[in-house]
């Protein structure tokens, strides 16, 4: 908040700080809304994907109202029930309703997806900007560490971290987030390096601005584009990774409903007898990841077309 606004508040005496901020906030909202409208016009597919993701979030949020059955309730009278009026997507080996488990599984997928990619992208972003800004030895050390981490396939890295931390939802988020950090760091660093050489950063340094001010006010806002794009792309990746690790039994633990978990074990063993057990959770994963990828592609084209990912 600048000094002059503060002064006017003091002078009028009645307007609060929040009210003084109102018009500026409304203007920013307007700009954001106009940007969204233009995005939707230019990238209809991306906008549709965004809507689909919002829809999925609503479905997951209202899972406890929408799910026809308790996702954990066994019903041994209705084992392997085929999809029909009572169970739209059929039931599994314990007679649990597949549709209900998919709806609750969406919570797990979105929690892990958003949690891991937000944490991973933010950590990667901070490290990337710091590496680019400070340069020299700091940069060198960070880059060599990133090189080491990147030389393992992402799933192996996540597996190794899960092996150290143990399975469970929160350890899974940590493992996926950590394995994202070096990959996002590389991209953000590359963008931040060019920002560092701009005249406005030089000017800020010349007038004696502190490091954190330069980084926070001048560099961070200019790397939000790659940050946002990487965030969306890695959201889909995180959901895929969660499914893979849960499938291996090293992710989310039973009986928590998770899509990858639903595909493991009995779903393969009885794939011919009860194909719905394998088909529907897989479809849920594919559609969700598809939506995030399409949105990520459109965001990249809109925000930072030079970014190659």
């Amino acid at each position: 908040m600048s000094g002059s606004t503060h002064g006017s508040v003091m002078a009028s005496g009645v307007r609060t700080v929040a009210q003084a901020r109102g018009p500026a906030l409304a203007a920013r909202r307007r700009v954001q809304r106009r940007w969204l409208a233009r995005f939707a016009r230019r990238y209809p597919l991306g906008a549709m994907a965004g809507l689909a993701i919002l829809g999925l979030m609503v479905l997951a949020g209202l899972a406890n109202h929408l799910a026809p059955y308790d996702p954990l309730a066994n019903d041994f009278g209705a084992m392997f029930a085929a999809p029909g009026a009572r169970h739209w997507f059929g039931t599994d080996v314990f007679g649990r309703d597949v549709l209900s488990r998919i709806l609750y599984g969406a919570r797990t997928a979105l929690l892990v997806g958003f949690g891991a990619s937000l944490v991973g992208a933010t950590m990667g972003g901070i490290v990337g900007v710091a590496a680019a800004y400070f340069g020299g030895t700091t940069d060198l050390i960070i880059q060599r560490l990133a090189d080491i981490m990147i030389s393992f396939p992402i799933i192996i890295l996540a597996l190794a971290i899960v092996a150290i931390l143990g399975s469970g939802t929160f350890n899974l988020i940590a493992a996926i987030a950590l394995s994202f950090v070096p990959r996002i760091e590389l991209v953000v660093r590359a963008s931040a390096l060019s920002v560092r050489e701009t005249t406005y950063v030089e000017a800020a340094r010349a007038i004696g601005a502190r490091h954190w001010r330069i980084v926070w006010r001048h560099m961070v806002p200019n790397v939000t584009a790659p940050y946002l794009v990487m965030l969306t792309v890695f959201l889909g990746q995180a959901i895929l990774l969660e499914a893979s690790l849960s499938f291996l039994g090293l992710g989310v633990n039973e009986p928590t409903p998770a899509w990858g978990l639903m595909l493991s074990g009995a779903a393969i063993e009885f794939v011919q007898r009860a194909p719905w057990m394998a088909v529907f959770p897989g479809l849920a994963i594919t559609c969700t990841v598809l939506a995030f990828n399409v949105l990520g592609d459109s965001l990249r084209d809109a925000l930072d077309p030079r970014l190659r990912i």
Binding site: S151, I155, L248, T286, N293
Partner: protein
Amino acid sequence: MTASVIEAERARLGLNKPIWRQFVDWMGGLPRFDLGTSMWTAAPIAKEIALRFQLSLQLAIMSTLIAVTLALPLGIAAAVRRGTWVDHLVQILSVAGLATPSFWLGILLLLFLLSNFHWLPPLTFTPLWVDPKANLLQLIWPALAVGYRYSAVTTRMTRSAMLEVLQEDYVRTAWAKGVAQRVIVIRHALRNAMLPVVTVIGLEFAFLIGGLVVTEQVFNLNGIGKLFVDAIARRDYTMIQGLLLLVATVYIVVNFLIELLYVWLDPRVSYG
């Protein structure tokens, strides 16, 4: 179990030595390709890995062949016919390929094979030179499941690299002087677009050695990925160490080969 038994076991596995000492011992074995012995099976790690490496390498090569034969023509066609239905179709195929988990695709393939041919993945692996037909029949399905995703990544890269090169001045010049389309696309454009494509192919290949943890599980294959998951589940630390070393080595070797390919593809690149 008494404390003395535990102590004896710790001494046998070498866990009673300080960490740095264990690390020095391990490093000392490396030049002799001695990765130690598994904490679970007590067999030499190098031998355990060599057994599985064969399978993983063959699967990786087959998937790469499938991916490249799909991706190059599709990517080129999409770039040359940009904005037409060909382009849209290829884009849809590759976006879908990126979103489909290959282990789920594997399960669907299994379902298809089971219901139509009553085919079940065999329990044991048949090496290529013992019975080529049985071997290929066993590996073609996982290779297809993995190859589809792989081809999606490569198609996208081929398309975007080709689009970039097709806008170059020398391509326009070639069109202007009436060079045949085939020659322009293959000689002028493709060769120059290959650098990023080769990078993607190489990195994906390196990922396939050891990265196929899940697909191997679906098809009952005893490869590097499965060894990895088992080692983690059994807390077989020496095995995990050996496998991580293998995966990182493959990655470095493949990267090195890519760099060599650059020189061959683009004579301007040189490492003096």
